[in-house]
Amino acid sequence: MRLYFLKRLGVMLTTLFIIATVTFFLMKLLPGTPYSNPDKLSEQQLASLNQKYGLDQPLPVQYARYLGNLVQGDWGVSFQFKGRLVTDIIFKRIGPSVLIGFQAMLIGSIVGLGLGILSALRQNSLFDLGAVTMAVLGMSIPSFVFAALLQYYVGVKLGWLPPGLWEDYSYSILPSLALSVTVIAAVARFIRTEMLEVLTQDYILSARAKGISEFAVVWKHVVRNSLIPVVTMLGPMAVSIMTGTLVIEKIFSVPGLGEQFILSIMVNDYSVIMGITLFYSTLFILVVLLVDMIYGILDPRIREKWGEST
């Protein structure tokens, strides 16, 4: 099993390395300079600025320096906010993003599981049909549409919750809700499908034949086995939440990482763009690894497979 994780770690690091490299070269290819007013600068000023930022070195040297700095935690300085460390910017902005992302996953999972499980148990009932319809709607309608609607109707027209900005906890509710809709839909659908499949399995009959209560059958046998594949959804779920935060933060003016990313793109602040890219990528890879581990904890058969993988 240790071998398996070492292998995974290896792949992870390779991926990160490639991402860093690709990001570096892509940044080099981007049109424009990182300076705000290049035409106002004289040749000399340009040259000295370039030297200061190390942009006058040959490419391989820049690359090596870049990698070296990365590893040491020096992710460069923002071009937009002169002198501010990229890492610093990222840290300041992580909070709101993590909050709404995490809440969205929590709400999404709990509500989604609840809906999905009940639907499966009451298959073809009115509740089931309703839930399935809502799930289709939830998964199809883009999250920013929901966000815009929530903002307009609940935030502005009804005024129940603040429609934007970030003052106290209540400001996180609408964004989290908007993000969670797709999650609820996907989770509900998935666990419903899984449960319907598990309900037809022989071992459920065996369990009933033993005379244990229906609740025990559903809880210990059906739900337990259905939950495992749902865990595999956590990876893609994390991705869609990360994607979603970009837009949600824009709509609700949340001072999070996503908003910063978009702003940096608009002003060509390369180092921040690179930094956030790397950050998101690392986060994503870690989530995938985590999900894998959880999966192994839940399903004994997978644990065995790890043990024997070459």
Binding site: M12, L30, V145, S281
Partner: protein, 342 residues
């Protein structure tokens, strides 16, 4: 289904003369219980038709697609023709006033009357006076086209990559899979955004960016399918008859793998539409005056408070498209899944 052969009238009571040996006619005795089975494609089509969501979804997609091309022709306006005098007019369709298409703005005022405008803009106009109906349908056209091209490219690359990887197996497969493992670790969105930054936002860059990130999913499905089929006996049979590799691939493996391939393709379409809209929404998509659904939603969002119709109409449009494609893809998946023979 054969019924028991009629023997004239059925006797009502049991008389002695009934106790004579009376064998059935030869074919009756050899009654075949199973009706002639449909070919798997026909059976799948039948299942598809039974799915409640599929038929309306399909119809809706057809209608929208047709309108996407015909719609702009129905009005004298172009999608980029500006007319400041007609700016920010609410939607007005005579006869559908009760649905909200009454030409009144959010304060109830009739701007058409105020400015002495006789022509009715069915979906209203934007702040430059551009006709929304034309823009929405043009936008749908562009969104659909982008999605289709990206999906087909994904299909092509994915099938090739996955097919080769699975068919040759061994070292080739290993290497190709390692590459995919690493690629999968890179979040799609990041790659797309970076690509677009370099290539300048536009239709080609969006399509390219989406293709680069999308083919992996298709490749994996194709590979999985072919690996599964490779082990099956009909492939061994073909091999033992001396059929060449490429022929096996094209005539045997791929047709059988078509089911999941088609389903994946169908699911790629709404994903592509979503991505395009998403990119446009954050400003990395198409640029003015081009309109795609994403651009329209973005524009609409900006004017949401005063002119909700600008947001609602394209939002509804994209939602309908996504829902329909998802329902269709769902139905296809259920219909083509060999396990689902209820």
């Amino acid at each position: 289904m054969r019924t028991l052969p009629a023997t004239g009238t059925s006797p009502h009571e049991i008389t002695d003369d009934l106790f004579v040996h009376e064998p059935f006619a030869a074919e009756a005795a050899m009654e075949v219980a199973a009706s002639a089975a449909d070919s798997p494609w026909k059976a799948a089509l039948k299942r598809l038709g039974k799915n409640r969501g599929v038929v309306p979804a399909f119809v809706l997609i057809m209608v929208i697609t047709v309108l996407a091309f015909v719609g702009p022709l129905l009005t004298p306006y172009t999608y980029d023709g500006q007319n400041v005098a007609h700016s920010n007019l609410p939607p007005k369709i005579s006869g559908l006033g009760w649905l909200g298409f009454d030409g009144l703005d959010s304060n109830g005022a009739d701007l058409y009357a105020k400015r002495n405008i006789t022509e009715a803009h069915w979906f209203g106009t934007d702040e430059f006076g551009r006709d929304m109906w034309t823009r929405v349908w043009k936008g749908t056209q562009i969104s659909l086209l982008i999605a289709l091209v990206a999906a087909l490219l994904d299909l092509f690359i994915g099938v090739l990559y996955g097919g080769i990887s699975a068919y040759y197996g061994g070292k080739i497969d290993n290497v190709m899979q390692r590459i995919i493992e690493v690629l999968v670790g890179i979040p799609n969105l990041i790659v797309i955004i970076l690509f677009i930054l370099i290539l300048e936002p536009g239709i080609t860059s969006i399509i390219l960016a989406m293709t680069i990130t999308g083919w992996v999913g298709m490749a994996r499905i194709v590979r999985g399918q072919i690996l599964q089929l490779k082990g099956q006996e009909f492939v061994l049979a073909a091999r033992s008859l001396g059929v060449s590799n490429s022929r096996i691939m094209f005539k045997h493996l791929i047709p059988n793998a078509l089911g999941p391939i088609i389903v994946t393709l169908m699911f790629t379409l709404p994903t592509a539409i979503f991505f395009e809209a998403f990119l446009s929404f954050i400003g990395l998509g198409l640029q003015a005056p081009l309109a795609s659904l994403g651009v329209l939603i973005n524009d609409g969002y900006k004017g949401m408070r005063l002119f909700p119709y600008k947001l609602v109409i394209p939002a509804v449009m994209i939602s309908l498209i996504m829902i329909s494609f998802n329902l269709l893809a769902d139905g296809l998946r259920d219909a083509l899944d060999p396990k689902m023979t209820k």
